[in-house]
């Protein structure tokens, strides 16, 4: 029940129009009350007026549509049926630095059914199969598309019809209402397997793709588009490549035949990607790799543009365009060679001795080594303290007297054990981190791994363990916790070739507007500069040139080169097999071999190319990786086609 004061107030409120005499304060409140009620009623009348006005406006709109515009809409709705067909834009092309097209589209005929206009689908398809071949695979795909519920689309039952099939269907078309032949565009990668890891591929849209498009508000633009870029450049530059979907409003008669187009907006083709990649160089590099597993990344130091990016084995991206069949997919996925992994970006390997030039620079810049100071290498390094431990050099018996120049040329481990000890891990982490080790390079393909350049803090975070001096010693020769991707190695050597200027590695140089031809450049500005004293830089670079000369570890690979090139060999120990790898006796031996590494740039005086080569289980860097680099450099600088030697003939300079 109501409380007393409230009842009183309410009664008072009802009687407020009657003149009653009360105390002054009380009266004031009542007056407010009455004023308030009056105000309320005024506002209510305003509301009522607005309601009537708004409904009147709605009726005016109805009158406009249903009386004044009736004829127009009547035509649209009654006499004919209007369907809105999306017009799919041409996907942008990919063009290499020399103007060669490496991803394009071609038109082919597809046989399509519009379910809303066709009758019973099952008998219809059976009937169709008597005219053109319809494989079980085609039926399966059609059923899947049907289940996904594409509203007003016409769905392909057969793709890539040949001329004979087109003609046979055209003659019989009257028997198949709701079935049409359409010219559609298919993606094609003319170079097949070459550069597959750069291009990536497009594939059928999945639920996840749809959700992403919806979240970005792009779903309407994908009406009618069945394919979407999945990985590589196709994936990363999807937004640029796709273009804008057009549409046409088509009048159709009762049989679903188009009578005329009422209105249309043409699609806008996707933009072209102009790459820094050199497709011929890429092809040569992949040819030189042959059947071996590994990666190669070549960068133009002056811009950071990627000239070649190899990951072997690759795959043929054309397989994915029309929907890859399950058998091929399983083969790609279950192969022990992991052809779908982009080793150049995702593979992490110990950099091995290719790490040494950067260690040398660190020691010089941070004042821990005098370049002319030589040590005596007895073949091992003795770390005192904690019971002591011997770290062996790769050469039994040692290299004798070694100064900094020689330490690079002959790749002396003992020298760098000492350097590492004197620098300490955190100085190494900080200085060499500037060259991009341990962080993503930012290359324009998704899925890049970050590698690892350890620090005390990292070990504590990762393992809750204190850093030991022994850990530092291993890091000094690019082993231990040290891990880098081939892209990072190429980036690091490119910075060295560039006297410290840092560019973000990138594959796309320009995005070309398909309508205007206007180019939008991807930044070529350096993203940073590492300050290095010229004399230090010169010392390391000179030593790297001598690596490829007689007496250096890569002398064999450098023999007879008409240009100077700087390089550094490396060998990375394969510590253990991966846990989930199947045991295969035949391969186990090979898979336990060391990874061979080589970094280089040329011409040494004014480098136009810097590269990193990694051959998985290739053995020594000098024998397995350096010749690959030499062949690529020869082609790039001299245009010389590689002469592929049989495997046994490879020069075996014995060491690292």
């Amino acid at each position: 029940m109501l409380s007393r004061p409230r009842i009183f107030r309410r009664l008072a409120a009802r009687e407020e129009r009657a003149p009653i005499v009360l105390g002054g304060a009380r009266r004031a409140e009542l007056r407010d009350h009455q004023k308030e009620l009056h105000g309320f009623q005024t506002r209510l009348v305003v509301c009522a007026g607005s309601v009537v006005a708004v409904f009147f406006l709605l009726l005016v709109r109805f009158f406009y549509l249903q009386v004044l515009q009736h004829e127009y809409y009547h035509t649209l709705a009654e006499n004919n049926r209007i369907t809105i067909n999306p017009m799919i834009p041409n996907r942008g092309l990919m063009i290499d630095r020399n103007g060669a097209v490496i991803a394009h589209n071609y038109a082919a005929y597809t046989l399509e059914i519009t379910p809303s206009k066709a009758g019973d689908l099952e008998p219809l398809i059976n009937e169709l199969a008597t005219v053109v071949e319809v494989a079980p695979k085609d039926r399966k795909r059609f059923r899947k598309l049907l289940e996904e519920g594409h509203d007003f689309a016409s769905l392909p039952i057969r793709t890539r019809l040949n001329d004979v099939e087109v003609a046979r269907f055209a003659v019989n078309k009257y028997r198949f209402p709701g079935v049409d032949i359409r010219a559609r565009l298919f993606r094609h990668y003319p170079n097949g397997e070459v550069a597959s890891h750069v291009l990536g591929y497009i594939g059928r849209r999945t639920q996840a793709d749809d959700e992403k498009l919806e979240a970005e508000g792009m779903d309407a633009n994908y009406k009618g588009t069945e394919f979407i870029g999945k990985v590589g450049l196709e994936g990363r530059y999807e937004a640029n490549l796709h273009g804008t979907t057009g549409f046409e409003e088509v009048e159709t008669d009762a049989n679903g035949r188009a009578v005329r187009t009422l209105r249309s907006t043409l699609p806008v083709s996707g933009n072209n990607l102009l790459l820094s990649l050199d497709a011929r160089l890429q092809e040569v590099a992949e040819r030189v790799f042959g059947e071996r597993r590994g990666a190669l990344v070549a960068i133009e130091p002056a811009t950071g543009g990627v000239l070649a990016l190899v990951s072997k084995p690759g795959y043929d991206p054309n397989q994915f365009v029309d929907g890859i069949d399950p058998q091929s997919w399983d083969m790609l996925n279950s192969s022990p060679d992991h052809p779908l992994n982009n080793r150049a970006l995702q593979g992490v390997y110990p950099p091995g001795s290719t790490f040494k030039p950067f260690m040398a620079l660190a020691a010089l810049e941070l004042g821990k080594r005098n370049p002319h100071h030589a040590i005596y290498d007895p073949g091992y390094f003795f770390l005192s303290g904690g019971g002591g431990h011997r770290y062996r050099d790769w050469k039994t018996g040692g290299h004798g007297m070694v100064d900094m120049h020689r330490s690079i040329v002959i790749s002396c481990d003992t020298y760098y054990y000492g350097v590492a000890q004197d620098l300490g891990i955190d100085s190494i982490h900080e200085f060499i981190g500037q060259f991009g080790f341990g962080k993503r390079s930012g290359i324009d393909i998704d899925g890049e791994a970050g590698g690892l350049l350890p620090s005390q803090e990292w070990k504590m975070r990762r393992f809750q363990q204190k850093w030991f001096m022994g850990d530092t010693i291993s890091v000094g020769i690019g082993q231990g916790y040290n891990l880098a991707t081939p892209v990072q190695l190429a980036q690091a050597v490119s910075i060295l070739a560039n006297n410290g200027a840092v560019f973000r590695p990138h594959l796309v140089r320009h995005i070309q507007d398909s309508q205007t031809g206007k180019l939008t450049s991807i930044e070529v500005e350096p993203v940073g500069t590492i300050h290095l004293r010229p004399e230090n830089l010169r010392l390391v670079r000179d030593a790297m040139i001598d690596v490829t000369r007689p007496g250096g570890t890569a002398a064999a690979a450098g023999a007879g080169a008409p240009y100077h090139f700087a390089g550094k060999t490396g060998t990375a120990q394969v510590v253990a097999m991966k846990q989930n790898e199947k045991y295969d006796e035949r391969r186990v031996q090979e898979r336990h071999r060391d990874h061979a590494l080589f970094i280089a740039y040329a011409p040494a005086e004014a480098p136009t190319i810097a590269l990193a080569v990694l051959v998985e289980n290739g053995g020594h860097g000098a024998s397995a990786a350096a010749p690959v680099a030499r062949a690529v450099l020869d082609f790039f600088l001299l245009g010389k086609e590689p002469q592929l030697k049989s495997k046994g003939a490879e020069d075996a300079s014995e060491n690292d």
Partner: protein, 364 residues
Amino acid sequence: MISRLLAFLGRHIDRHLLAAVGALLLVGLITLYSASGENVGRIGAQLANIVVALTVMWIAANIPPHYLQRLALPVYVVGLLLLIAVWRYGETVNGARRWLHIGVTRIQPSELMKVAVPLALAWYFDRYEAVLKLRDFAVAGLMLLVPVVLVAKQPDLGTALIITAAGFYVIFLAGLSWKVLVGMTVAIGACVPLVWPLLHDYQRQRILTLLDPNQDPLGAGYHTIQATIALGSGGFFGKGWLNGTQAHLDFLPERSTDFIFAVFSEEFGLFGNLVLVTLFLFVIGRGLFITFNASTLFTRLLAGAITLTLFTYVFVNMGMVSGVLPVVGVPLPLISYGGTSLVSILFAMGILMSIHTHKRLVKS
């Protein structure tokens, strides 16, 4: 005996309102039969919804308003907590986070807020009846803003819009000064050019499409274009019941729910629209009449907000179908298929009836 039962049942029922509501429900069923492709099962389901909703209405009509007044704050607080729970732990369906799992079933707390917000605001103003200062309006504004932001974030723009409208009506009727109103309108207008450059391209595109559906005939614009064709082709007398081609040839999306008005309009034409609008006008007019005669500030504000919210539903839905307003998910009250909306509308009608019939009790 039977007459006494009827008298008991009808004691708190407003006959005028019931008659108009009944007529609208009938129109709804007739249209639904056509829109669903003559699906008798659908009609059965909607009839079941109607029975439940009418029961809810009867119960609401028999609850004296001051009980509602006492429940206002707790309901609001619970609703707010549930909204926060949705924000933190809600279940995502179709890209929007609106549902909350509680044991056996899922609930949608934003639906509750459509009633809880006007209730709570009316309660708040009634408490400070004698002296309303700007500060009170600021508090009320905050009480409105928090749930609206939470609902809009889900995102559920249609519901956020309805809650905003309902809350705004209470604040407006409570007497927010005209100066502040005009000032706020100007301020919001002035913000648009400041916010515009900060939006992403696709967000801008979305807004532009809302304003001009022809820009995006395959996406958001598709609904509007097809609905406009349905309306326009209906002409003055319509194509006749069950003869709408737009509806039956699958051109119209969501034709049983949000776009059912297009089906109605195609088949019954401008004439049918006049009848329908008149029926709604009658319901709204009756609601305003009840508001006008309500005895306390709480009931006045509540009745006013309920009536004007109903008006907002009707206007937004019809405006969206006829292509003058952007497409937001708002059903046409009493006509669209669906239990939730029906129950909440008839619950609100029950409150109106309660306000109208309980007032007299105090008098005697």
